[in-house]
């Protein structure tokens, strides 16, 4: 049975068009906000892996690092070249000691649940803020948190004062701007995929402050890819 050529052609064209649309659709969804993981460089001390994680939180990520959402709050990580990268999926070694330094350039928003205002799941249950060892900060002062619920890890991040003279506008923020430095240490266990998030409702304009960047991987949420 010979079908007219135009019917076969039409069918082939239709199938191709559908295939292209499906590819575009699936592609749009996979790259929506996901990012490849950033492998944090590892050193070893006494045979056990040690990692230095340097991250910063900024009030607005800016058009350069996020053309579609320039006003989103975001975490950034410093790579080996000293550049700040907007990547929130970090590859860490298993059973390692991780020293974290957070540079915060954002002002206070306040915690919804005051319980999260004390560091937990970190060495000594304390954090070092601008050189001072603290075991709690006033909850309404919290600017952000770094939390890995699977590890029971919660660290509130101290804010830049509201009347600061030299605040950073858009990321990447150089250390010359007003900022706070928070340091703590935690340990990774066995391999796995652990999410981290911020608990401070800092997304202005979304209900409960938890929409937008707070629900988007690549800004205020991410993964620890422990391998």
């Amino acid at each position: 049975m010979r079908a007219p050529v135009w019917k076969l052609l039409g069918l082939a064209l239709g199938i191709t068009a559908v295939g292209v649309l499906i590819g575009f659709y699936a592609g749009k969804l996979t790259t929506e906000a996901g990012s490849p993981s950033y492998t944090v460089p590892v050193q070893t001390t006494n045979g056990k892996p040690v990692v230095d994680l340097t991250i910063e939180t900024v009030a607005a990520v800016g058009p350069q690092l996020s053309p579609s959402h320039p006003d989103y709050v975001s975490y950034l990580i410093r790579n080996t070249k000293g550049q700040w990268v907007r990547d929130t999926v970090w590859k860490l070694p298993a059973n390692a000691t991780v020293h974290v330094t957070i540079y915060n350039f954002d002002g206070a928003s306040g915690l919804r649940n005051a319980y999260l205002a004390r560091p937990q799941g970190v060495d000594g249950n304390v954090m070092v803020v601008d050189g001072k060892t603290l075991d709690v900060i006033p909850p309404e002062d919290a600017s952000h948190t770094f939390a890995v619920p699977a590890y029971g890890l919660i660290v509130p991040v101290a804010p830049v004062a509201d009347d600061a003279k030299n605040p950073c506008g858009y990321a990447p923020c150089a250390l010359s701007y007003d900022h706070r430095t928070i340091q703590f240490t935690f340990h990774t266990g066995k391999a796995g995929h652990y999410r981290w998030q911020c608990f401070v409702p800092c997304a202005a304009g979304w209900l409960y402050g938890f929409g937008g960047p707070m629900q988007t991987i690549g800004y205020m949420d991410g993964f620890l890819d422990v391998v």
């Binding site: 206070a108 928003s109 306040g110 919804r112 649940n113 005051a114 319980y115 205002a117 004390r118 937990q120 249950n125 075991d135 709690v136 006033p138 909850p139 309404e140 939390a147 619920p149 699977a150 029971g152 919660i154 999410r195 998030q197 608990f199 401070v200 409702p201 800092c202 202005a204 304009g205 209900l207 409960y208 402050g209 938890f210 707070m214 629900q215 988007t216 991987i217 949420d221």
Partner: protein
């Protein structure tokens, strides 16, 4: 058009065959289901509520087994016996439009079964709440003194407050064994649901609402806690593990947690059954 092509006298008694086959199959299947399958249906026996659910599931599947057997036998029989012969002329079947006995039996028996199941389920529910959240004014309240534990759901973690220990808040749920517990589940933002799987507890966490559920623990064990209501990005990751521990261990754990809690206790709002944190906080 003629009716059925075979003379009526030579028709085997289809109804009797089906009924006999059904009875035989049910007599075999129902006890097997009641003894082996029913009790194996989760959640198991880790708490009094979970046991109640398992009993309920067993009763239901035992009653439903004969129904399944009937339909199975009927269809296997009908679809094999009453098929039109290949290649034969198309003839009509007998013009059977109704049979009041069959109708009456079907409606009557299904009504009885359904009413029984509703009644039994209500009985099981009113015993001790069956582990479900009953809202701020529960009606199925077990008697006895209860340990109050509040479950605070937020995006995207559960925290727990113990009002009888000075409003102690923790991020791990630890409860004593062989204890009657009154869970108060609430939320700070979106709708979540506290599901302690092995303990057979599920109560939605609504903002501004105190959802009460009762739990009588049995022996020490761990249990999985999942969020069972879509609450945003990390809903799928909102899980953790809780522990039921002997009373002595529980007391020790409380003391340890209180020591850690001391630093933040000054900032905590007093214990309440609902919280209304500012929806926007200091935005921007």
């Amino acid at each position: 058009m003629s009716s059925s092509s075979t003379p009526t006298a030579a028709q085997p008694n289809h109804a009797r065959r089906v009924i006999v086959a059904w009875i035989v199959l049910s007599l075999i299947a129902t006890p097997l289901v009641a003894i082996f399958l029913g009790p194996a249906i989760p959640p198991g026996n880790a708490s009094v509520q979970a046991s109640g659910q398992t009993t309920d599931n067993t009763v239901m599947i035992t009653i439903l087994t004969p129904i399944i057997c009937l339909l199975l036998v009927f269809f296997v029989y009908a679809l094999s016996q009453f098929r039109k012969e290949r290649g034969a002329d198309l003839v009509d079947g007998p013009p059977l439009r109704n049979h009041s006995t069959v109708q009456f039996l079907w409606v009557g028996v299904s009504a009885v079964i359904v009413l029984f199941l509703a009644g039994f389920g209500t009985y099981e529910l009113l015993q001790n709440g069956a582990g479900g959240g009953q809202g701020p004014n529960p009606i199925a309240v077990p008697s006895g003194s209860k340990l109050q534990v509040q479950v605070i759901a937020q995006q995207w973690e559960f925290t727990y407050r113990y009002p009888s220990y000075g409003g102690l808040e923790t991020s791990q749920l630890v409860i004593p064994s062989d204890t009657l517990i009154e869970l108060h589940v609430t939320s700070l933002d979106a709708v979540h649901s506290f599901w302690a799987y092995q303990l057979g507890i599920k109560a939605d966490a609504n903002p501004g609402v105190d959802n009460v559920a009762f739990l009588k623990t049995k022996g020490p064990r761990t249990f999985d806690i999942h969020c069972a209501e879509l609450c945003g990005l990390w809903h799928g990751y909102m899980f953790s593990t809780g522990r039921v521990v002997p009373a002595g261990q529980f007391a020790a754990w409380v003391k340890q947690q209180q020591a850690l809690f001391a630093s933040v206790a000054q900032y905590m709002p007093p214990y309440a059954t609902e919280y209304y944190p500012d929806p926007q906080r200091r935005a921007g």
